[in-house]
Symmetry: D2
Subunit: 469 residues, 4 copies
């Protein structure tokens, strides 16, 4: 990275999270000699981009900085000579997420953003777009770093590395960040008094914690979590406790998303309750978003409003800023990121992406070796990582057989006729964003597969909210 | 193995399958210089042992052979200086299997002999007994081969190798045998015109088939299977077809038990239908058994009655005879057996048990190297093998946390409160056969956990049928 | 393989070994419906091709067979629609081997056909030619099997698989064949009473032996070998015994070539004695060859003369015939061949070539899983296989740095100035056969590197013997 | 580690390096609340212990500190309740090293402290002692950290982990330290501007270097090294340059000891020159030591004299102090240490010791994942690590066959009669320190094996210098 003034680009810049990102940059103004920040979005997101962009300008100005904020719908113009590109877009907007949640839900299965059928389709929609961005970057900014926090973050990073053949990438997630914020408090410590060791894949990892005298405090945290309610759970995860006997055998702290796998029954019930009553998470989020954008319109608002923290993705943008600063300033920070394994999780293939404690500095992420898992966690992680590989391959190739294999492997999808019906219906529902599956979709349409009216109704209802994120 | 006259021992000798075993030995009389066959059973099985033992004697006599048939309840006497010990017992008798099926079924989950919660508990009950047998063998017949076809065969073989530290063992299963009987017919071939390559673990393996000109015929068989109904499915597996698109991507033939995982919805529905209507498989089997023993009582019957083939375990005993003959006569036969991996399935640990095509001869099984799986099958097999390791460790140690981990990993058990309830209730239900879990069971009893009346009723109903197998 | 009449092609058909090959086909006339045998050679080998070709015709006629024997210098004509292609050529003729032996020897280092610097250069010369043959085969006979017994056989097979991307290949070596001929005699057994388990790479493997009652007899053979002189050593390996204490720890039988590594001092001394006195092995062989071709000219000779057995390569051709018959007739023979590992030697990469006990049938070689080595053998084999990969990559790319890395890794080359001098001198000496290194060779010539007069003199001396093999 | 006042113990406290150690503690007085430092030695080292101990007291006093310096021959008294135990002893004193150098040298082979036959015997002598220390520590200070810088450091650490079953250990070496001192200068940088990535095993590792903008500068350093003479070579390694072509292919910087393997010819010649002329390294070192101890006797000397830097082991003791401070104060320093692999070097076994870039903090060393090597380095490191495992196993068990295997594997020993003779002679020569080989030694003595007079003479000559280190 040259010491020149920096050009930062954010794809999906009209997102409601952008103020957190701007705040993150402002906090690190002494570490980052920023010249330009480019917020990029698509035409459907232009209105939001303008609202949030204006607010970003007010924030920068209030901080007394001379950074240029560019708002654009022209991605290639933005990418030209960029130093860091961060991605936070949502292909198909929030409407697509509603479908990801409501189609499985309508069949009594889990509808969730990054897990189950919804997570698979989120990957299917996003992989073609990210590969397109990588293609542009190879041409326009071949030395830039790509900071991905578009979900499903681990799979997108895998696609960037394996199919995009792009090495300078960091995949981010706020789940470890949240854990490292809330857990120290539970045991009366500061984060810098603790040593965290994470290993696994995005949204499916475990960690161990030690104090600064080398004593393991994992069980102390677990005891507090089980006693006092959960720690650091993102807003989008329902709080059902893990089984004590299981954690005592495991001797590690699972991530919040493990609930979907370790307490499948309760999480499914909760998801279906939301489906049938207050609306799925996406529907709730759209309401929050609507309110946020109302706030952002206020020409006097020049700081991140506290309501933003109610979104499940809080701290994501701050992690992005920290990773940019760590790379640029060679800070050698401990962060938990998606990066090429290189042996750090020896139960998984060396050349594929894992999410792991790493030291982040000028050469990117250097993962810290975790060692082998015990059989239970090894079995889980090998299933989940291989499922990711199947999903990403299906997403990159449009192979329906692979898509069906992924649905069959997924522990949150009960395989069989209903699963296959959900797969087919989702292909139809998302067809505008699935060019790789065009032939199969045409075949399904010829067979008369359609999306249930129930789902279509929910989408219509929310169609007026054009949230970009 | 010295060329001396052979002493063969069968533990669980009162089983209804024993006539198949005797028939198998008679077929191989020229390869096996048998002197004595010892049929061993427990007091509860004495009546059956006497019936089936008398029939065995008639069969041997009808074949013009001078083999001694010994019936005994004294296992140690039988094991003394044995050459081959085969095991076909069922800890807890058929009543235990009914509980394995009806307790999960009563909660709407799959009740099955070797899969789901039932399979886990079958391992829990059997592992302590097999380790006890191994302990006796080390003392009484340290050079004998142990031919295990007690289910869950792969896990029992794993326990023998890993916790029993006994190397001379072959684990058998009739699933590959059935496939190799029925599939050649489907494509108009004889078995000896085909080359089979199996790899995986017991009840969870795949295979490829080639003709004797080296052409792969896997897809030809698949096409016939999908067109004409399934091939070689054991009687205890409901026939729902695999998805063509999935198999075309896989390019391998799954085993019959994959249905439970690839068509979970339909298999569960079928299981619950049986549960609610004609009775679970164990209940059906008890009826078949009852009829078989009536037949066996006939003092004129001196051959294996054809009705025996209706049991799901047909060909198991013949495979046992063939493996004994292959080892004794160094026949170097191709058989699919559970044995130490040694690299043949490189996606699984080298030192643990897999089920794989092997050459069976004087040194036991030499597995044939299969090479790596594609990601979908790799993920599945790594999950399943690690789950086996967790189950076997739980069975060997009585660790409740591990038992809960196994329940959580199992794809056929929906994790959460109901799963944990099933686990607890099954511990209570099988408590007489689970000495390793005694402390936990006492704790559960103190907490008032009991077996549902519904299940208890079903057991009572069948209590008068004291089937040993 | 279709049942049609077979077209067999042998590249390097003018070799003195061809009569063994013809004899081998004649022995298997009932298994192989041969129509045509094509013997291919290069112009320099035409005279020998005619001599040996005429003899081949006499042999076939004497056997009362109507096979067509074609002699040709047109490789592509021969390859057209071939069923089996065997390769037994020697790039650069015997003169090149003399250089391989005398250049290192002139610097006091080992000069040997397949080990040390000579083996590396034999690979450098041969890899481009074999890749060219594979290229032709893809076009002219894409369904043929390639049976390679051109040395260094393991590395050539590796090149065919890794750089040629050709899967239907079997690499052969007579070293295991010789062991399996001579060892059984040592302990008064027939081969079919023993079970052999080989693992390693070509010219660097170990084996264990068991009798047909499953008892290991490895140490019995070792004891006989150490007491009675070595068993089955090819004619080209000097007989110095292994250390008893080493073999007792190893509990395996090394191959004859291990002498170069386990008794480096004595083997080097012997090699230098030959260099200084009777002439290196190649020079001795040329004398034998000369005599053989004189014999072959006899128009009455219509069988393989016993003198051929004095060559180190005896049984190679017979192994080739047996492998062709095993594949064609799906014989499922136990053979020790170079083939893709697939996990059979789990200490080596799954996707690269090993030499291992395999079952040879219609689908080619199915390797038998050997399991992990102990650390000493694991260290050796990992060094040697990785050195092979470096050599083959250097041979395929012409990278001088890799060539130097290979020289440095090779345990039989003392690294440093002399080694580098040998490398450079051999590049010059073999320049006509090293197109891939053309740039480096030009650079060396510009620097004035030349071949020592001593070596040149020895080549001149033997220049009149135009042996093709 | 509790915050209490620290008790530090150094075994081999009479070493001439002790002043560097004391200086290192003094430099870190603010990080380490030291109460007591115990210097332990054996009776033969008592005189030196008193000299260097007195000097240590002067140094502490001059620094104005109230630390207690205890001198003792009672190891168990010292270990009682220790917090950190460092080891820097030399079993058999410097006389043993002279034998390690002169016996191989007398046969024309390399005599070197940690490589070749000498390194193997150093391990043979040291392993029993370190395992005895570990046994004491389990009893007397089970929570202490063991900081080993007794050579061969990697193998001793392996023995501690594998045979001692002791986890809290860090193995140190000054080779990486020296590289990180000298290389930055070469390219005009400070160490903190560079990112180092080391991987391999002790005395056999490679590294890559990057600047703080993420650009790789490995080749810049190599270019300077090849142009300007070597960087950071310890005093005990003769300076012969690596081949440029080899390094350009490797794209990594080898460690200084690689010279013995990459330039074997020149290093052997240099070693034999020393052997024949000025005396081997140990003999030179004894002279330096003698002078050092004369200096230390000066009652006015209260600081580390600059002459100490002439020893090859400079910076070792400072690294020990830094590692103690990093663990105690959870500094999370980057250090290159011998520690359990855990996947960081995926080409080596997960559970054995490697030397690798690690973050050193309260939980000890967390290795940074390096990823796979290219084939050339992979082959070397797999050979060398497995050789280490063989040596350590031989040292722990006294198995002569394993010792012979180790000699045979070692690239710096030409296998054969001479090698075996050296092995036998060294067993005799070191018999007082090789209790594990007692039976074999007795057998060799019965056979009349003796140490050459030449070597004995050299030992006698130096016998009056009772150096402890």
């Amino acid at each position: 990275m040259s010491r020149k003034a920096l050009k930062l680009v954010t794809i999906g810049g009209g997102s409601s999270y952008t103020p957190e990102l701007i705040e993150g940059f402002i906090k690190r103004k002494d570490q980052l000699p920023i010249k330009e920040i480019w917020l990029v979005d698509i035409p459907e997101g232009e209105e939001k981009l303008n609202i949030v962009g204006a607010m970003a300008k007010r924030m920068v100005k209030a901080a007394g900085l001379d950074w240029e904020i560019h708002l654009t719908l022209n991605r290639r113009e933005a990418l030209k000579d960029a130093d860091f590109v961060s991605t936070q877009f949502r292909v198909g907007l929030m409407q697509a997420r509603i479908k990801d949640e409501r189609i499985p839900g309508s069949y009594g299965m889990l509808g969730q953003e990054t897990n189950g059928a919804g997570g698979i389709f989120k990957a299917f929609r996003t992989v073609p777009v990210i590969l397109d961005i990588v293609k542009d970057m190879k041409e326009l900014c071949p030395n830039a770093w790509l900071i991905n926090f578009t979900n499903p973050s681990g799979m997108i990073t895998e696609a960037i590395v394996t199919y995009g053949k792009w090495k300078k990438v960091i995949g981010l997630c706020n789940v470890p960040v949240n854990a490292m914020i809330s857990e120290p408090e539970l045991i009366g410590k500061n984060l810098d008094e603790l040593i965290y060791k994470f290993a696994g894949i995005d949204h499916f990892h475990w960690h161990k914690v030690f104090d600064n005298q080398g004593n393991e405090v994992t069980m102390d945290i677990i005891n507090k979590m089980l006693g006092d309610g959960d720690a650091g759970l993102p807003k989008n995860i329902f709080d059902v406790p893990f089984y004590r006997e299981q954690l005592e055998q495991m001797k590690m702290i699972p991530c919040g998303y493990h609930r979907y796998y370790y307490r499948e029954e309760e999480m499914l019930k909760h998801s279906l309750d939301e489906f049938n009553n207050q609306g799925t998470r996406a529907q709730q989020v759209m309401q929050i978003e609507k309110e946020l954008f109302e706030l952002y319109k206020d020409p006097n608002l020049d700081y991140k409003p506290k309501q933003l923290a109610e979104r499940g993705g809080a701290h994501y943008s701050d992690a992005a800023c920290e990773s940019i600063a760590s790379i640029f300033a060679d800070k050698r920070t401990h962060m938990v990121v998606s990066t090429v394994n290189n042996g750090s999780v020896p139960d998984l293939p060396t050349d594929h992406v894992v999410e792991v404690s790493a030291q982040l500095g000028a050469t990117g992420a250097i993962p810290m070796a975790f060692g082998n898992f015990q059989p239970a966690e090894r079995g889980w992680i090998q299933l989940m990582k291989n499922m990711e590989l199947v999903i990403v391959q299906a997403a990159a190739t449009g192979d329906y057989g692979l898509a069906l294999q992924a649905f069959t492997m997924n522990p949150l999808i009960r395989s069989g006729n209903t699963a296959k019906r959900i797969l087919d219906e989702m292909l139809i529902a998302h067809k505008n964003y699935l060019p790789q599956f065009a032939d199969k979709i045409a075949e399904l349409e010829k067979q008369g597969v359609t999306v249930k009216d129930e789902v279509a109704a929910h989408i219509d209802e929310t169609m007026h909210v054009g949230v970009t994120e």
